[in-house]
Amino acid sequence: MIVAEQKKISEIIEMVSPYRKVLVLGCGTCVKTCFAGGEDEVAVLASLLRLAFEKQGNSKEISEFTIERQCEDEFIQEAAEAIGRNEAVLSLACGAGVQDIARRFKNVPVLPGVNTTFVGVMEDRGLFTEECLCCGDCRLGQYGAVCVLTRCAKKLSNGPCGGSRNGKCEVNPETDCAWQLVIDRMRELGQLDSLREYIPPRDWRTSNAGGPRKLFREDMVA
């Protein structure tokens, strides 16, 4: 999922303060799962904003709405009416959702309520970890399904650096050394020898280095 974290309330208050009628718009998919922008978070944030502006003596109308996904037109249309009634949208979706809403509603400012942080998983209760950089050229098969590009702080392709100690990364002793995980897994799989192979430099064109990426599926076009 896409993992996000709600922005500081003070930052949000400052962002929305020029507008009198603000819609807090939630997204019911990824950001809901990571407790950043689903219905519950929308309710808490909207309530806090109402209380904060009321205390400032600043009369504002803060309303709430959550759709299934802010990155799909079908769902976005469900929010059209609510958006139409407001002067600004505070979107709690990831960066993609914020932009997709803005693309469809040209006359309404759309503000981000969360910081989109990474593509990851919930490794444990309340613990989210980054797993994928969306490089566009997946090599997980070579590395025992551990992404060294994402999970090694130096993006090393050919083995661990000299700072791997007791299975932990020198950059953060609470982070597993990705290479230790690769090696452990390859040993389990009886494929440790395949790590002797030299992995040549990446072609970063498939990544964001080649500019924004597009995917076009001709077969899906009516």
């Binding site: 090393l156 083995g159 030299y198």
Partner: protein, 310 residues
């Protein structure tokens, strides 16, 4: 390594000399004298001087410029190049520039992570890793082509080296990684500072078993301990450093004013062991900010005078 040596360092190694190199950190400033002063301390006592590239991710005079200052003094530099700060375009360009200025040895590293340095807010690059950098240097040297396959007017013939840490985890992978570095083009290997001799020797045994000491020259890393505090700090804080308790005990067991002597004694014992370890071709002394210790170590270890350079 059969062809004509690229550098004096390589030539000495080919001739079977037990070589001595030392490390020199450029200043956090632009004074040439800060480099040449270190050069003066080392002149005559080492075969080559290894110049760090923004070590510990702290901005310093570029390795390339400091290497040129040493060259002008008639010293042979080993230029360090890390992949942390430059992409492949800049790395190749700097390699060509370095060669044009007379630099002939290149140590290929990934570099300390920027989070350890003075500017942890910086973006890192890591376009390629240290092994891919070695391969780049080797390809340019042996085929005269850059990474795009473009044929250069001349092949920059650099003697490429790499670092190895026999003390990092996972141990079983350390020799595989060494083999990968050598296969990618490393002609010499500098190890992390050695305090844990049994572990180092075990690593060397595995390296010999795989024939790696036939393919590259291994230089054992030496760092003189100056105090018990330094030993404790390095053991606890420096990533990838392995200082056994008995070494720390030895440093603690002598009065403060004798700690330097004890550290020196440990160095000399280590060098003696390294001389007698098959497959070790020399030592690399990393006495950062205490380059004055290099000459006495080299003398006391019986490694002085150094063979004449050509």
């Amino acid at each position: 390594m059969k062809e004509k040596p690229c550098s004096n360092l390589q030539k000495l190694l080919v001739n079977g000399e037990f070589v001595v190199t030392a490390e020199c950190g450029p200043p956090r400033g632009m004074l040439k004298e800060a480099v040449t002063a270190k050069g003066e301390l080392l002149k005559g006592y080492v075969d080559a001087i290894n110049v760090t590239d923004n070590q510990t991710a702290i901005v310093r005079m570029s390795s390339l410029a400091a290497c040129v200052h040493l060259l002008e003094m008639g010293l042979e530099p080993v230029m360090q190049m890390v992949t942390r700060d430059r992409n492949r375009i800049a790395l190749q360009s700097d390699l060509l520039g370095a060669y044009s200025l007379g630099i002939r040895n290149l140590l290929c590293l990934s570099g300390d992570h920027q989070s350890f340095g003075s500017q942890p807010d910086a973006l890192n690059v890591f376009d390629i890793d240290s092994i891919q950098l070695l391969s780049m240097v080797e390809t340019m040297r042996d085929t005269g082509r850059d990474m795009s396959g473009y044929e250069l007017s001349h092949a920059p013939r650099m003697f490429a080296g790499a670092a190895a840490n026999p003390f990092a985890d996972p141990f079983e992978y350390r020799v595989i990684r060494l083999a990968k570095k050598i296969a990618a083009g490393a002609g010499f290997i500098q190890t992390q500072s050695i305090y844990n001799l049994p572990r180092f020797k075990e690593w060397m045994r595995l390296a010999r078993e795989q024939g790696l000491t036939e393919e590259a020259y291994i230089l054992g890393g030496i760092t003189p301990l100056k105090s018990a505090g330094m030993a404790g700090y390095m053991a606890a804080r420096v990533a990838g450093m392995d200082i056994p308790d008995e070494i720390i005990k030895r440093m603690r067991g002598v009065p403060k004013e004798k700690a330097g002597e004890e550290g020196m004694q440990i160095c000399l014992e280590t060098i003696e062991e390294l001389k007698n370890t098959p497959g070790v071709s020399g030592v690399h002394i990393m006495a950062i900010e205490s380059e004055n210790l290099v000459a006495p170590i080299v003398k006391a270890a019986g490694l002085y005078p150094r063979p004449a350079a050509e």
